[in-house]
Amino acid sequence: MPNRTRCFPIDDKPSPVTAANPSPVATLVHRLALNRMSWVDVVLLLIRIGFISAVVIGSTRTFMEGRFSTAQWATLISAGVAQGSIYALIALGYTLVYGILRLINFAHGDVFMCGAFFTVFLAIWTAQQGILERAPAITVLSWILFAALISMSVAVLVERLAYKPLRNKPRLVMLISAIGASFFLQYTARGFFTTAFRSYPTVPGLDGRLELGQITVPHVQITVFAVALALMAGLYILVERTRIGRAMRAVSENMETARLMGVNIERVIMFTFGIGGALAGAAGVINGLYKPQGVSFIMGFFPGVKAFTAAVLGGIGSVPGALIGGLLLGIFEALGPNLVLTGLGIPGSNQLKDVIAFLMLVLILIFRPQGIMGEVIEEEKA
């Protein structure tokens, strides 16, 4: 038996001496099962305690000081919900693919970027031609369709080129290929469209605000949330009610059995990538409505990582989980800097918005890799 690195090196079996006359320390250690704890457990416990106390102290102090009014909190939350619904749309792509291939599709953020980037040219053109002015709703819908089409093709192409030759290979080899695909898409876009930043035209009718008593919600945020919700409802129906959806669920449950039942695995995989890509493309346009500026070849990285965080937070592999995870992440990200960091007296807290997202990613991966909805899936799998 190797000498394990225990934190409290007291043997599992009490020695005869201690058994007859146990020292108080040894009793305590045994009672709290500390002798089974390794250093790693202690560190994890400390991180947990530190993190929770930071959140609690920070938020109580912010509330005590009464720094923000209710209306301000409401504004933050509605912004968080809008941003979160965009994350949720992208997160669905991660979740669907992970459910089937157990692969983190590292290039998914860049699929999102491709949809947004190709469509920005169509959007600028429609604005120049005055089409956008005349029929805003239909034009925006056509952008969404176009972006979905582009991203769907890109996602399917990536699947064919980078993942299909690697079926049944170790997952890390697939991850390497995925990182390669991500680079490929980013720098292809850079080659095509150069490093310049583009922006979506402003859509008439979206610049207003809805007044609900003290609270005002911009129209953009409502539109973003509504469109995202509609798309997700569509996906839910697709997965739960249609034949191909049933095939998708079957493959994610057990690929081999599904194959034996006559499901065309390759088609299901391609379809999954396509659907995930289409949602990411739609998310690209919605993101363009919400934040018109900053369309560039690197725009996919942060939303990609955050959407992955959302997918894990909600429970990767679960469709409703992606929605919950996305919304939660959006709200945390909007509230976190003001609620916790300001309370802790950290200056420039809004610069650290991305730190909060990454910190959440790491903490979720450490403490609850199965996410919120994870256990349900685990039971179904067993």
Binding site: F121, L175, I176, G180, Y187, F192, F301, V305, L352
Partner: protein, 563 residues
């Protein structure tokens, strides 16, 4: 008719793919950028190589044709399909301006693709002829014996390589010989046609003689006594080090800078190789260690606004390494239970958190925020300061050699064996009594040391550090080196660093497309060579004598350690 269509479907689709490839290369701007780099003066430039390359590939693809006649027909059909696709594209971008979207679809591109002809029709005709010729060359290559084909490929590679590295070769020649000897070889960076022919002829001559020469060396080395063998290998290594020692003076200041960068990346690759290559821990946040080393060196030695102590470089160097190791340990502990892809994402999160923290106003009083740290002194011994890239190269060289020895010893050690056991199967490793937690923590900690060392030297070399020097791309570069070079293979690290860091810095045309090529390379390596270009040698433990029931000698176990 239907049969004919069926038979033609494959070559037509292959040709279409080649055409799409051409269009892709043109739209990314690669073709024009490469077109500025001549390979053989007045004959060939790199842009034409990438324009006609897909057509040569079409010819090579028809190797499996049942007979020559069918093969030629297929080549013709495929090339025609490719030409039609490319031609339509040229006509399209000539007629409709799509420049506001695809910036590179310019009249200049049309002119380049139509071989600079004034009339579009003539240009298209010329392109068609060139493409057909390229296809014919490709099929011709497919028909000749493999040895000859490889010889031709090698000759072509040598010519292209010489032309691409013309700057390096010229510089070395100028240092060795007086005057401008490089003018004999190159005219404005391109090989002179006669030189290209001589180089190709040299390859043919060498390939003709090589089997005999190599046979003699390979036969004689193992025949020597072990003592002599060690002497030979020591002599070879000594000569290598000697060459490295004079290298910076041969290649001049700019190329020494490149070499120094290669050295820094080699340090990082050797470090990350412990985690990724040996222990199988997929770390995407290696830049953390680099940043910690750099910032510690910067904060403690600078004489600028953030001055704290203004200590000596040599004092802080070990401190930086220890600090990086400590950070490595701290960040390893929470993620030590994760496996595979989740570990990769979590470590990537750490890397980004470090960068964002360095950028924030929160820590700005201490580490400068987005303003960075200025006035970091160069290392010095007594009155001598390591001022130029040449001087600094020696520090990096020394560090790399030390790390090479350390990693080599670790690779052969029991700990190295334990890492590999974890890499191959963690559950089994745990079951046979390896304390996986401790061994994995050790891997992260030791791997961080080299990153910290590289970071400390980097800070001192540059004199200033900014948060954006520590982006995810650094981690990705290092990871690419390891994967492309070959996980766990030290020779692979050296090769990978030279190819992925050294070559792009030499070729400024490539620099814009560097990461595009990395992406393609990563996918290609994952699909075709998962072990990398130079895979780690599989260890052969001597097990022949093990099955003997009674008379087995216990000496085998000790000899196995030498690998």
């Amino acid at each position: 008719m239907q049969l004919l269509l069926k038979r033609l479907a494959k070559p037509v689709s292959q040709g279409a793919v080649a055409g799409v490839l051409c269009i892709y290369i043109a739209l990314t701007g690669m073709m024009e950028a490469f077109g500025e780099r001549e390979i053989v003066a007045g004959v060939l430039d790199l842009g034409k190589v990438v324009l006609l390359g897909p057509f040569v590939g079409l010819g090579l693809l028809q190797q499996q044709a049942p007979n020559r006649r069918v093969g030629w027909i297929r080549v013709l059909v495929a090339c025609l399909a490719g030409i039609v696709a490319t031609g339509l594209f040229i006509l399209f971008i000539d007629a409709v301006s799509i420049r506001h979207m695809f910036t590179h679809a310019s009249p200049a591109l049309v002119a380049y693709m139509t071989m600079g002809q004034d009339a579009l029709a003539a240009g298209l005709g010329l392109l068609a002829v060139a493409a057909l010729a390229a296809g014919a060359v490709g099929f011709g290559l497919a028909l000749i014996p493999a040895y000859l084909r490889n010889t031709i490929f090698m000759a072509a590679l040598l010519v292209v390589g010489m032309a691409l590295l013309s700057e390096l070769i010229s510089q070395v020649l100028r240092q060795i010989l007086n005057g401008r000897p490089d003018r004999l070889l190159f005219s404005q960076g391109a090989l002179r046609p006669a030189v290209a022919v001589i180089a190709a002829a040299a390859v043919f001559a060498w390939r003709g003689l090589a089997p005999r020469i190599r046979l003699r060396v390979q036969d004689r080395l193992p025949q020597l006594e072990p003592e002599r063998q060690r002497q030979v290998s020591l002599a070879v290594r000594g000569a290598g080090v000697l060459v490295l020692l004079v290298l910076p003076w041969l290649v001049g200041s700019y190329l020494s800078e490149v070499l120094a960068n290669v050295g820094l990346y080699l340090l990082m690759a050797l470090g990350l190789n412990i985690a990724v290559g040996l222990a199988g821990l997929f770390d995407l946040g290696y830049v953390t260690n680099f940043a910690v080393g750099a910032y510690l060196m910067g904060v403690l030695t600078n004489s600028g606004p953030q001055a704290t102590g203004e200590f000596n470089f040599w004092l802080i160097l070990p401190v930086s390494i220890l600090a990086a190791m400590f950070t490595g340990l701290l960040l390893a502990l929470p993620v030590i239970r994760m496996r595979g892809d989740y570990l990769a994402i979590a470590t990537m999160g750490f890397g980004e958190i470090i960068r964002l923290l360095a950028l924030s106003d929160w820590l700005a009083p201490l580490i400068g925020g987005s303003q960075g740290i200025l006035f970091i002194p160069k290392p010095s011994i007594g009155a001598f300061t390591f001022q130029t890239p040449q001087h600094l190269f020696y520090i990096i060289l020394a560090a790399s050699l030390v790390m090479l020895v350390v990693i080599n010893r670790l690779d052969l050690s029991l700990t190295g064996r334990r890492w590999m056991a974890i890499r191959d199967d963690e559950t089994v490793a745990n079951a046979i009594g390896i304390d996986t937690t401790w061994i994995k923590t050790l891997a992260f900690t030791l791997s961080a040391a080299s990153g910290g060392l590289a970071g400390a030297i980097f800070a001192s070399k540059l004199g200033t550090i900014f948060p954006h020097s520590f982006s995810l791309l650094i981690s990705m570069n290092v990871l690419c080196i390891i994967i492309v070079g070959g996980m766990g293979s030290i020779r692979g690290m050296v090769l990978g660093t030279l190819v992925l860091i050294g070559v792009p810095e030499l070729l400024r045309e490539f620099s814009e497309f560097r990461f595009l090529l990395y992406g393609i390379l990563l996918m290609a390596v994952a699909i075709y060579r998962p072990g990398g270009l130079m895979p780690a040698r599989a260890r052969h433990y001597r097990t022949e004598s093990a099955p003997q029931p009674a008379g087995g000698t216990p000496a085998t176990s000790s000899s196995a350690a030498s690998g």
